[in-house]
């Protein structure tokens, strides 16, 4: 018995980026500080991952007026929301294959995500 393995989105298959997208999906929008507090990562790390997500069109940013200074606010794009949904579906499918009797499930580590 063989099973066709779903392909995981390499961009999202990175813990910090998955967490950013999931957090934005739940919260709606968040500032850099909000994300940093939620994910407990360094500025440089967060900036790099956010940059990749913005570049791929999964996350968008806009300047919000916050008193005397402007604040950069990040939110998910429709493409980002769809990508997260698909990513979760693929993960669930992988788990279903894994729980089927006799199925051979390769370790997720072999998918070799690009980071």
């Amino acid at each position: 018995m063989t099973s066709k393995l779903p392909t995981l989105d390499p961009l999202l298959h990175q813990p910090a980026r998955t967490q950013i997208v999931a957090f934005l999906s739940g919260r709606g929008e968040a500032s850099f500080t909000d994300l940093k507090l939620a994910l407990e990562v360094t500025d440089g790390n967060l900036g790099a991952h956010l940059g990749k997500l913005v570049e791929a069109g999964l996350v968008e940013s806009h300047e919000a007026c916050a008193g005397s200074r402007a604040q950069t606010v990040f939110s998910l794009t429709p493409a980002g929301r769809a990508a997260l949904k698909q990513y979760v579906a693929h993960l669930s499918a992988l788990m279903n294959i894994g729980t089927r009797k006799g199925a051979k499930v390769p370790a997720l580590a072999r998918l070799n995500p690009k980071s």
Binding site: Q19, S25, S31, L108
Partner: protein, 346 residues
């Protein structure tokens, strides 16, 4: 497999963190708690019948008083919250902005209900209503905040309902309301982050601690400030001359008391003023000051109570027009009730 599980779990945690991202600032907890507690205790002493003898003026004064304080504290809190978030370069979650609006609506409902009860009755349950509204507000915040806050919201609603069901004296509901605001809100804010990741049993324990911390002070205050029984002689109705100073007038069961009816309105008037002959079914003690009732009373062997603390209420159940032969007749059924009656043995 384990990786997929772990990753889904991580996504779920972050989604939940995003959904439950509402955080009340420390100043919000203190401001709302302090003003709510102050209004619960102080309103009845500031907006009194003596200052506003006319019912319409009394109602309007209460409306303005509550609006001034609640609108003021809401605007101040909103401004302080936005400023604090800007300083920390954080955003106000969309859910928090919406819940804040819902919270303002609940405060408006409470204020308008307090106003409307002057005209439509039900004033004795006003503090229980405020407790329920506060519970609803806390529950709403809890839905998008920490689970313990949600539980505390439900507990607050139940406290309000139980206060009514247990026929708690009016004064006790006032102190319970003050305690829910002044102690309950800041304590909920302090406890919630400390038990967030703990087990259900710990949370239940903390919830019980919260309930005790809110209920105990209210009950202690009520117990420690009883209505003092009047000093002086106990007089009976037959006493020839009532001396000056403080006395107790004892009315025995079977005493006939006239009830003067002063009906006012555009449809009917009570001229000449009729008097209904009522017969006492319980012994009643009235405190007199220089020969006049001064507000304290006791039913049977019960405790002394004050009229201003939720005295007897005349509740009109039904008004019907009946034809007595060819003449129409208005039939009214009313009950004179008192919350302390359940504790009195006739």
């Amino acid at each position: 497999m384990a990786d997929a599980y772990r990753e889904l779990d991580s996504i779920h945690s972050m989604l939940a963190l995003g959904h439950r991202s509402v955080r009340l600032e420390r100043h919000s907890l203190l401001l709302i708690g302090a003003v709510g507690g102050f209004l619960s205790v102080g309103t009845d002493w500031v907006i009194t019948k003596d200052r506003f003898p006319d019912q319409n003026e009394h109602a309007l004064a209460l409306l303005l008083w509550l609006t001034f304080w609640l609108a003021g504290v809401s605007l101040l809190d909103h401004w302080l919250t936005r400023r604090a978030r800007q300083r920390r370069a954080e955003t106000l979650p969309f859910a928090q902005a919406q819940i804040t609006r819902a919270w303002w609506m609940l405060l408006s409902v409470g204020t308008l209900s307090s106003f409307a009860m002057f005209f439509y009755g039900g004033g004795e349950m006003i503090y229980a209503l405020w407790i329920v509204l506060l519970g609803l507000g806390i529950y709403l915040f809890g839905l998008f905040s920490r689970p313990l806050v949600e539980w505390i919201g439900i507990a607050t609603i139940l406290l309000g309902v139980l206060a009514l069901a247990a026929k708690l004296p009016f004064g006790a509901t006032r102190w319970l309301n003050a305690s829910c605001f002044a102690i309950g809100i800041p304590l909920a804010g302090w406890l919630a982050p400390r038990v967030d990741a703990r087990s259900w049993i710990t949370r239940i324990g903390v919830l019980l601690v919260w309930i005790c911390a809110v209920v105990a002070p209210a009950l202690l205050i009520v117990k420690s400030t009883p209505v003092v029984s009047p000093s002086g002689r106990v007089l009976s109705l037959g006493s020839s001359a009532i001396p000056g100073g403080e006395q107790t007038l004892r009315l025995e069961p079977g005493t006939r008391l006239p009830l003067q009816i002063d009906l006012d309105g555009a449809i009917l008037t009570t001229q000449p003023q009729p008097a209904l002959a009522l017969t006492l079914m319980l012994p009643v003690d009235l405190a007199l000051q220089d020969g006049q009732p001064e507000g304290r009373y006791r039913l049977g062997d019960g405790v002394w109570r004050a009229m201003h603390d939720g005295g007897p209420r005349l509740v009109i159940d039904a008004i019907k027009i009946h034809m007595d032969g060819s003449k129409p007749e208005i039939r009214v059924h009313a009950r004179l009730s008192d919350r302390s009656l359940s504790a009195v043995r006739p």
